[in-house]
Symmetry: none
Subunit: 224 residues, 4 copies
DNA sequence: GATGAATGAGCTTTCATTCAT
DNA sequence: TATGAATGAAAGCTCATTCAT
């Protein structure tokens, strides 16, 4: 934990002010990209620092110079991925649509984003296998994810106000349902496909499931 | 794959006829129990053969004698866990209840079972990280899981017939929704708890989520 | 500190009952012997596990199997060396001689033993550079070294009683003086030789110094 | 030995004429001060160039610029420390006192100086672990330390002449005894304290030991 | 002079697996 | 059957040193 006895920077844990060394930042970004793929593919234990280094121009030593340890690199990868989804999520302008429309939009966006970013999904799975012990030490992620809850809260309020939604919706519960349905579609596709001899990733299957989930969520929020 | 250079049994891939050595079977069962816990706790790469051996009276040599390799042991663990859920699931007598009642019963059972068997959930996560490459080589699991689909199909048919359910339900899609909602509750509890500073395992939270999921599913199958 | 997650024995920290595996004990003894020489020669940081392994038939891996870590091996070496001097020291029968005679005998023995066991002296130097942090965790050494103090105490009492020694001698202080004079002769021979262009290890120089130290100590305990 | 591939000074091996760059000298002095502490604390192998650089404003590059290598820095540290004790020792005006008084004064000074300069003592220990191979290559230290022998020789001569000291004293032998007793008090305090559960550095213990050593030496030089 | 980035060689340690008894 | 001992390959990590600016 206290390996910071070297001269090295080993930052990248939080948001640093725009660094003065653009080259180093590029290399760090490259390492992060490759590491994301490898950690997502093999997990934390299965990933090899050697493999990550071999996949780029940088030597293994540089990974330790910039990230301090395998765990440090893994944490940086987590922070980067969580940060990216936040940035993108904030571009959704849910307030501009009617409550039900906005909700459908959010569900479809979540579905599409998670399907397109299987690496992120897999990293979250890996982190759950490790009982979230790394994320628990990254407090910068806390408020980051409260934003979506706030969005849902105001959405529910608007829906309750105009009568298009039930008045007793719990935004966190709703978020959980959306997340569960979209997440599972990616996270468990391999065992599902293997056991049911099914193709969950075909365009047709994907479109059908997307519609089904959207319908499921919309039904759940509407008054009877 | 051709590690069978020992003189020993190394079966356990399928269902052998009741072994003539009850002692050996007990040992295998013990190993399996411990290995399940360790693989679920640490994943395939994180699990250590040494640790598994240490947690029992049996030596490491016995693991190799009975299961051939770490992967062989892991496959046996998977087979054992999937087999157990099949056995239990078949005790549900869904046909004795009205369609909606049966469905609610199935959802609650699934929720409770997965919550109570986090080890199994974690193993499925681990297997998905490994892209289900081990399960894909275990054909005995194929038909095993088709049973629940058949149950759902007849349940949907009964519901459609008596008008309590929409006539266009896809049993596989329904199964996916139920699984997703119940699975996620266990699989992602650590990241969710860490990020939202939330207690997902308290009795209150669990009961609420259980009711919410049941309601969600029931609404989704009923005609408007 | 808690690396004991392997199957391995990793004992040798204390006095185990005579082990049932004579072969393994022989190998451990061999490792200990080689490691003693290397740690004494290069210090804890300068010693290389690779070098120790190469100096014998055993592989590097076996060192970890038997001793757990580099530090564990180092501690075992310390315990072994301290244990050996105890065993030998206890063979001195100081009670059978007159006080002054016994004291001279003890001084000459200490001088000879330390000169003949430069490895031990160097290990003590190494341990002092490390501020005795390893020895501090080896409580079994405590009472072990109190024996020589007890010997000196009774010797001083006898000498005070028969008038051959001053009545105000402090055994611990006396032990310190003897140790200092004998230890320094080995510990600092290299810098002394280099700076004064002197040969401290020739038979003549050694004999003279031995006599000088003995005289110094005897003078210090006698009444004026 | 032939690392002088830089374009830089890399002197510091001897006494250079007063440098024209006072700033550079200050930096060198700073480096030396920090390096002394680190080498004394961790030994040659345990010391890290990174750590030394971190403890100052100066970067690692400066260490190599001024001292060429880790070994070069270590040699400079040794030279600096030995040089300092020479300077101070020469301020003792032993000739102004009676022989026994002067000797007592020298003993007490040596005891106090070594106690107050544990860093120096530790460096000498480190150098002895390395068999004085670095000091052996620093000829400037040779005559430096002959001075104290000369002082002792004339002191002994004076004592022999006025009958207060034995006529057969060997100054080198006497120096060795004084050094041994004072050095050991610092060098072995950690193992001694650990093994005998003793506090060797308390003011009381220190004062007692100081008196005891002085008495020991004075007794040894006086005629019976 | 001064600094951050880079590096290669080598270090300690780990782990699935097999052997001897 | 059962166990302690053994192993090779490879993993994570470190460190003195140098380069580019």
């Amino acid at each position: 934990m206290s390996w910071q006895e070297t001269t090295a920077p080993v930052g990248a844990d939080g948001d640093e002010p725009a660094s003065a060394q653009p080259h180093a930042d590029l290399i760090k970004a490259d390492i992060l990209e490759v590491a994301t793929a490898v950690f997502a593919e093999k997990g934390l234990n299965g990933a090899r620092i050697d493999e990550i280094a071999e996949l780029m121009r940088t030597s293994k030593r540089m990974i330790y110079y910039h990230f301090g340890s395998k765990d440090g690199l893994y944490r940086a990868v987590l922070a980067h991925c969580y940060g990216r989804i936040r940035t993108i999520e904030s571009t959704l302008d849910l307030g501009a649509r009617s409550p039900l429309d906005a909700l459908a939009h959010l569900v479809r966006f979540t579905f599409d984003y998670q399907l397109a970013n299987a690496d992120f999904i897999r990293l979250v799975m890996v982190e759950n296998i490790h009982r979230a012990e790394h994320i628990a030490q990254m407090p910068e992620l806390h408020d980051l994810n409260l934003r979506v809850i706030e969005s849902l809260r105001s959405l529910c309020a608007r829906g309750a106000a105009d009568g298009t939604m039930r008045p007793d919706m719990d935004p966190m519960d709703l978020h959980m349902s959306i997340s569960a349905l979209c997440f599972f579609n990616v996270s468990n596709q391999h065992t599902f496909s293997a056991i049911f001899d099914l193709d969950m990733v075909s365009a047709a299957a994907t479109a059908a499931r997307r519609a089904s989930i959207t319908d499921l969520i919309l039904r759940s929020v509407q008054p009877r």
